[in-house]
């Protein structure tokens, strides 16, 4: 085999160098800081960096302090948590299921959470508990999918995916029927959840879901080598001493807790969990020891950016709408880039 020296061929033949990774990490962290800074300063009331600094130190005008502490900081934190959770959850599932189409919502999470939200909103039941209801719906549906997928002592990828599709269709259908028969006001309220929004999210959401997402994110990143081994195929992974059922349950549980945490804060924000891992792999290769932490950071970056866009327009949009509208063309572009780089 001849090794040509063209830069793209060089990239194909050799994995990402240390420098490329350091460069990518620095760029991502820089971008993240930039987005956080912009999110804190921009809005219906623009604040200068001095005003932000003063407000952060609990100095300056009361209005500025309220804007910083009670409105923008919790919202940007919520965006970072939701984005990081979705990015990591998507990367874990794509690795575990060896399927680039996997997203955090593949295993029925969105349908379960959505159905619970529509039920609670539609029946006017315990509306304050809607975030918890969404979390519970997400976790319970994934449990059902896992129980359906398990046959004897095995847990096959195909059955997991098909189970997820089956429950998603069923719960999606029930949800649509309930929505069609609900009064306009409730329909709007439920829709806001189903599209996904960070509007009005405050410290309550951040402090309830934040810690569980943080713990799940640390455990998730530590599972990187397991995901790498699973990517080698069932037989080889088993030959390397991996218990397929145990590792698929563990990775699935962490991914579900992450996604459910995100859903309980912001509702069903689509596309972040699907696209972010693809972009990250293009940047740092497919070693999940890099893909997982990078997906966490990139997810946070993307969602904070999308939320900034969502609230900068004349009318505030739900962030889920922005990720969906920007996400699909992004995905097409990534596919195109991959073809160009892959030469296939």
């Amino acid at each position: 085999m001849t090794i040509t020296t063209g830069s793209s061929q060089f990239l194909q033949l050799y994995s990402c160098s240390r420098w490329r990774i350091i460069w990518a990490a620095s760029l991502l962290l820089l971008g993240l800081s930039g987005i956080v800074f912009l999110s804190l300063t921009k809005g219906s009331v623009a604040l200068t960096s001095e005003e932000i600094m003063a407000a952060a130190l609990r100095q300056g005008s009361d209005v500025n302090q309220t804007i910083f502490w009670d409105l923008r900081l919790p919202r940007v934190l919520a965006a970072l948590i939701v984005g990081a959770a979705l990015g990591l959850s998507g990367a874990l599932l794509q690795g575990m299921l060896r399927n680039g189409l996997a997203s955090p919502f593949l295993l029925g999470i969105s349908a379960g959470a959505g159905l619970m939200v529509v039920l609670m909103v539609g029946l006017n039941l315990l509306q304050v508990w809607v975030p918890f209801g969404a979390w519970l719906g997400a976790v319970m549906t994934t449990l059902l999918v896992y129980m359906l997928a398990r046959t004897g002592t095995t847990l096959s990828i195909e059955r997991l995916i098909l189970g997820g599709v089956a429950f998603s269709s069923l719960f999606g259908a029930i949800q649509s029927l309930l929505l069609l028969n609900s009064p306009d006001g409730q329909f709007q309220a439920a829709l806001n959840w189903l599209i996904g929004s960070l509007n009005g999210r405050g410290w309550a959401e951040v402090t309830i879901a934040g810690p569980s997402v943080l713990v799940a994110a640390i455990v998730g990143c530590l599972l990187a080598r397991q995901v790498n081994v699973l990517c080698l195929g069932d037989d080889l992974a088993m030959g390397l001493g991996t218990s397929l059922v145990r590792s698929r349950c563990l990775i699935g549980a962490v991914a579900t807790l992450l996604a459910a945490g995100a859903v309980s804060i912001a509702g069903l924000v689509g596309f972040v969990g699907l696209i972010v891992p693809h972009g990250v792999r293009l940047l740092v290769g497919t070693d999940y020891r890099l893909v997982l932490p990078f997906s966490t950071l990139a997810g946070a970056f993307v969602l904070a950016g999308a939320d900034l866009l969502a609230r900068l327009g004349p009318v505030e949009l739900p962030v889920g709408g922005v990720t969906a509208i920007l996400g699909a063309p992004m995905f097409i572009w990534l596919l195109y880039r991959r073809r160009v780089l892959g030469g296939q």
Binding site: M1, L222, L223
Partner: protein
Amino acid sequence: MPLDVQRLTGGYGDRAIIEAIDLTLRHGEWLSLLGANGSGKSTLLRLMSRILKPQVGTVLLDGRDIHQLSPTAVAKRLALLPQQQILPEGLTVDQLVSLGRSPHQPWWQWDLDAVGREQVEKALYWTEIEHYRDRLVTTLSGGERQRAFLALALAQDPKVLLLDEPTTFLDLNYQLQLLQLLKRLNQERQLSIITVLHDINLAARYSDRLALLRQGKLWAVGPPLEMLQPQILADVFEIQAVIIETPIGPQICPLSASTAAPPIPSTASM
């Protein structure tokens, strides 16, 4: 004995593919499993490597039931190279081979320790692929790829190595290179090896003993010289063959299939 199979019956679901097999792998021995398609060679290999659970019988690894041991305890002593590998996109040879240390690492540990690094270096050295450790696995040729996966198995530091048709998809040169490499590991490092091979001549040339399977049963087992007999080949493979003595030992020359092929329609009748 490194690996001892006792009255082993097993398969998929309730269906038994292999039945009542007794087979022992001796220390430092190379044993090849031969048989026609569907005779149960791969199933036997999967049973011996703990991937499948037997319906009846036991597999003893160093005298202990393989299913009483944890998967990692087995993987520290026994490595398996399946017939077909999923090519990990974007992984380098070094990263791939490093995954062979998985059974020796706790689940949360990301990187290799000093012992692990040393074993990976040895595996790369033995398989002679040190010079392309930084290449992506997907860019390797078939032969290089097979060496990289062999290095992954060797990084496990196994005493027993099971290989399912390691030479399929390789051209003759690569086939010989790979088998010579295995022979060296077998002789110099006392690695006990079981291979499933399709090529009877290559199996006879490199293995110490051949185990012939027919319809899920062990038909005969013994050194190549005893196994390569016209009658045994007719029974197991349903072929007519002559055995030729060559400087590299007995080799077979197949003459025809025993089962009569359907007659070719004559052109006149068409």
